[in-house]
Amino acid sequence: MKARMLLTMFIVLTVMSTLASCAKPPIPSPTAIPPTKAPPPKPITVAVWVTDAPAVRKAAEAYEQQTGGKVIVEEIAREVIREKQVTALTAATGAYDVLWVPSEWIAELAEGGFLQPLDELMANSNLPQPNKDDWASPGGVEAYRYKAKLYGFPVSMDTEFLFYRTDLISKPPETWDEYLEVAQKFTKDDMYGTTLFGKLPESISWDFINYFWSFGGVLFDENFHPHVNSPEGVAALTYYVDLLQKYKVVPPGVPTYEYPEVLTAFQQGKSAMCIQWNAAYGDFASQEKSPLIYDKFAVARLPGYKMPDGSIHRSVIGHVWGFVLDAHSKNTEDAYRFLVYLTGKDGLKYFPTDGASINVNSKAVLTDPEMVKAHPEFPFLNDVFADMSLWPNATVTHDMILALATEASAALTGIKTPQQAMDDANAAIDALMKKAGYY
């Protein structure tokens, strides 16, 4: 009797689950009669991470109104943004037509043949084309170029500011020596001078690179030979490590810090300065979110290295995120149509309000009075871009960032000396380059 009951339950559930899978997704059909003479574009799928997905949805709705082309927006959890998208690309089934990819992945994906070069599509007069005059950041577009071919269009570009407390510091430090002095002055009572991003697997790389480049370090030369253990490189890491180990001007917990912890520390008045991404400006300026400091901070360019001739060499890392096309997409032209729309001013205008990308690649959107009012840091942001560099485009860039992070972290926590760490990083990058066939 018990057996019968269990058996019945089993059958019922099996049937249920089969039925559940039988429900087919509705076949997309154009909703409005398009005003243009061309037939409506075929449906395409866009992959984007959850924080910017609402913006893409709005853009997709507007696009469908305008052209009748249906766009399916696939949200991807931030934790698996690389895992899922790259898996989809390697599967070569065109699961996603348009993907959300940062510029530092372009080289390896393009080299592997996973991305659709856009140059031919750009030359096709039957297709809508981006308005190059509206591009706020041609440099951001160039970041998507690999071996003379363009693979995507950027959505936003981020970089870092030096945030500092105006009630404590009247003049922000210009050189790393001054930075250390100021930090030492304000490391007292419950507060520290500044913070670092020490966490693995990647954050520490993105923080340390600022110091590395401004000290004159070079990741690799034109022949792709790495030189991270040059005297400049080691000096940069020594300075970085000493902030924690020798001078103790940063909280002892910085090896566990990444964006949220650095944000919190400054917000709670625990650090007098911080080098932090520009996206934090909004949080710091909000009275609701940062009641302790919202009216007591300002931004400055990152400190730089004082050169023998007296000039100050500054360098700050930037991060560009944008959209690319799957080389195995089944609807390349229609995907391109949406790509142009999404990364032009019509699509981009949704990102600052409904997404998390603020500094978008459109002059029209950036100069909109509402935007300007909501983001007083914009004019300053443009100045900082003059100091900005991006990770160099090589097929090993992603792994190089990880290798640098591991070694920098080892030095920061005293496992290795800066010299050892840089030597090991150099050896690791050298191995990567060899394996990738650079020499």
């Binding site: 592997g112 909280p251 917990g253 520390a265 625990k270 097929t395």
Partner: protein, 290 residues
């Protein structure tokens, strides 16, 4: 030649096994073969597939990071599992007898297990925070030294181990408790009539009956800790340096971040092999009549 009776025995056995064999073969055999084949190739996003024979395995043998990860994994497993086993057993034993509020206590003790690895990673990260975390606060109030738990190479792995113990002791307890509950009461009654003490009963009744379950728990926990990824990643990212890098995290980075799929596949097989050897050692030493 086999008699009709023994033929029927084999067929009957496979009738019981048929459903799972069907599902496993349909779903898992292709991935397993895929992974095995891939381990003999080198793969990278930029260069695609290249046949390299045993080179991946040779590289693993020479890979100093893998050695560190292996060492960390062994430490992690040994420390976590021994505590979980002992604590789980004691708890199971305590909960085996009826007392006021027993069911409630049992339900509450299950709660740590319900937190998904991601959730517990975040929760513990908050508690381990050196500046506003509750753990350092307690330590300071008790006069103990405070640490940067997840940021100090000497404590990072320990921090992960503590979380593992917190999360999986209920797992061990639940399985052992179920095992204890299937020991017939008559055994204990007979022993008490014979005047056996608590410890004698433990040695001669409880533990022998529980052996199969203890073995299974050891096997499963060992395999889980070798595969562990989510908590370690959330807490330390494998760092600082490589001080808390475990084999599971290393395989994930190689396979799903760097997409060196060939190398990651080879690591998976090496992990499987090592775990199998350990499992066989367990099975031998616990001497369960299989």
């Amino acid at each position: 030649m086999m008699s009709r009776r023994s033929w029927r025995r084999h067929i009957s056995a496979y009738q019981f096994l048929a459903p799972i064999l069907l599902v496993v073969v349909a779903m898992l055999v292709y991935p397993l073969l895929y992974v095995s084949r891939l381990s003999f190739f080198s793969y990278s996003l930029s260069q695609g597939l290249n046949f390299i024979g045993w080179q991946n395995y040779i590289d693993i043998a020479k890979d100093s990071v893998f050695h560190i990860a292996l060492r960390n994994t062994i430490t992690y497993s040994a420390a976590a599992i021994s505590v979980e086993l002992v604590l789980g057993f004691v708890l199971a034993n305590t909960l085996n007898s009826e007392f006021f509020g027993r069911n409630l206590v049992r339900a509450f003790l299950l709660i740590p297990m319900l937190a998904s690895p991601i959730v517990s990673g975040i929760m513990w990260r908050f508690m381990y925070n050196p500046d506003f975390g509750i753990i350092n606060y307690f330590f300071k109030s008790l006069g103990l030294p405070t640490f940067v738990w997840t940021g100090n190479p000497s404590t990072a792995l320990l921090a992960c181990i503590v979380v593992d113990i917190w999360q999986y002791t209920p797992f061990v307890m639940l399985l052992l408790l179920a095992g204890l509950q299937s020991i017939p009461k008559e055994q204990y009654e007979a022993a008490m009539i014979d005047g056996a003490t608590f410890f004698q009963q433990m040695r001669h009744i409880t533990i022998p009956w529980l052996k199969p379950m203890i073995l299974v728990v050891l096997l499963m926990r060992t395999m889980d800790s070798v595969k562990v990824f989510d908590q370690v990643y959330a807490l330390t990212g494998g760092g600082p340096g490589v001080s808390s890098l475990t084999v599971g995290v290393y395989a994930y980075f190689k396979g799903f971040r760097s997409f060196s799929l060939g190398y990651a596949s080879a690591i998976s097989w090496v992990m499987a092999l090592i775990t199998l050897i350990i499992s066989l050692l367990y099975i031998r030493s616990i001497k369960v009549p299989e």
